[in-house]
Symmetry: C2
Subunit: 186 residues, 2 copies
DNA sequence: GTCTATACCGGGATAGAC
DNA sequence: GTCTATCCCGGTATAGAC
């Protein structure tokens, strides 16, 4: 929340405002979901006005799209033991660093079609990678459960904020899930 | 979808209309969530008009409350092996019989405060029961993960409709999750 | 008692003043 | 280029005709 120092050039100011809008939108979408977040509220939080938000992003849908833009995921591959490591590393990353963009996507995944599609694609992608390394005719089912379990940890901690999970050390969660995931990846 | 036969008494007709509204609301809330379900749409689906819906239920919030009213849950207690059985039985029930009311609650749990609270209370209740039978200082964390994992199965299958899960035999899902849950309950 | 018509509000989006 | 004022739609809720 530091006040920016140099007024600098027009282009820079513009870029800075844009970034502030994006950041406010991220927080509000993550906290309240797509439907309950208003352009007006985003503008207020970013200390501008609604018209400017529309000017920069055109539509609420597009603003959400840019907020929820998924970063590239580490591919999950190799023998079971290796996949287990990669999956837990990915979970650690989600639990330790702030991913307001990801939370925005997850928050709306049950009620907003675009968000649902984004999550589904992301999980399906990982699912195929894991299933490829597994074999067996229930590989896709096992891989789906693996994906849902890691997602469930984030959900319970950051979105539902369950007692016993929201304040738990990420490493504890990871070590508790390790043997559970091992029963599915093998 | 059978057309009701006897027009019968006023009170009965009234009750029937009420039930039809409740049923339509259940389906729509379960499919689209609280915010995207309109009173108008509920009325249309129930072949009445919006005013009547309001007359019977007063407010959309109250209609949702009645739709999402949780049935009583089997208590989870006993030694670890017994709790495991009870948890899996509860999961089987959720996977095999249609619980549109429960799905309505789950659909909105990330975006509607009342739904979030309902789910949180339900999980927390189960969590305490499981934690009581476990011991260890991370009992609540383990119990939370147990709850989230079973919830994740329903989520992935009925709400996200993940490939490899939406068409999976419930018994397969249960048997895959059994060893995973065993690593957390012990 | 049931439904038609409408009030009222707040949302996203737009046009035009400065 | 930034903001004020406004449009228009669709939501919940209500009042009054039948």
């Amino acid at each position: 929340m530091s006040t920016e120092p140099a007024p600098s050039s027009r282009a820079e100011r513009r870029e800075r405002t844009r970034a502030r809008i994006l950041s406010s939108a991220r927080d509000l979408f993550a906290e309240n979901g797509f439907d309950r977040t208003t352009i007006r509220a985003v503008a207020t939080a970013a200390a501008t006005d609604p018209a400017l938000v529309m000017r920069y992003f055109g539509t609420k849908e597009e603003l959400f799209r840019q907020v929820a833009e998924a970063g590239v995921e580490e591919p999950i591959a190799g023998p079971p033991g290796r996949m287990e490591e990669l999956l837990l590393a990915s979970l650690r990353d989600k639990l330790t660093t702030e991913h307001a963009g990801t939370l925005a996507l997850l928050r709306s995944m049950l009620t907003h079609p675009a968000a649902a599609e984004g999550v589904r694609q992301s999980i399906t992608e990982q699912q195929r990678q894991v299933a490829a390394g597994l074999g067996g005719d229930d590989a896709m089912t096992r891989a789906a459960l693996v994906g849902m379990i890691t997602l469930a940890a984030v959900l319970g901690r950051d979105l539902l904020r369950l007692e016993g999970l929201q304040d738990a050390d990420p490493e504890v969660i990871i070590e508790l899930l390790r043997p559970a995931l091992q029963t599915l990846i093998r």
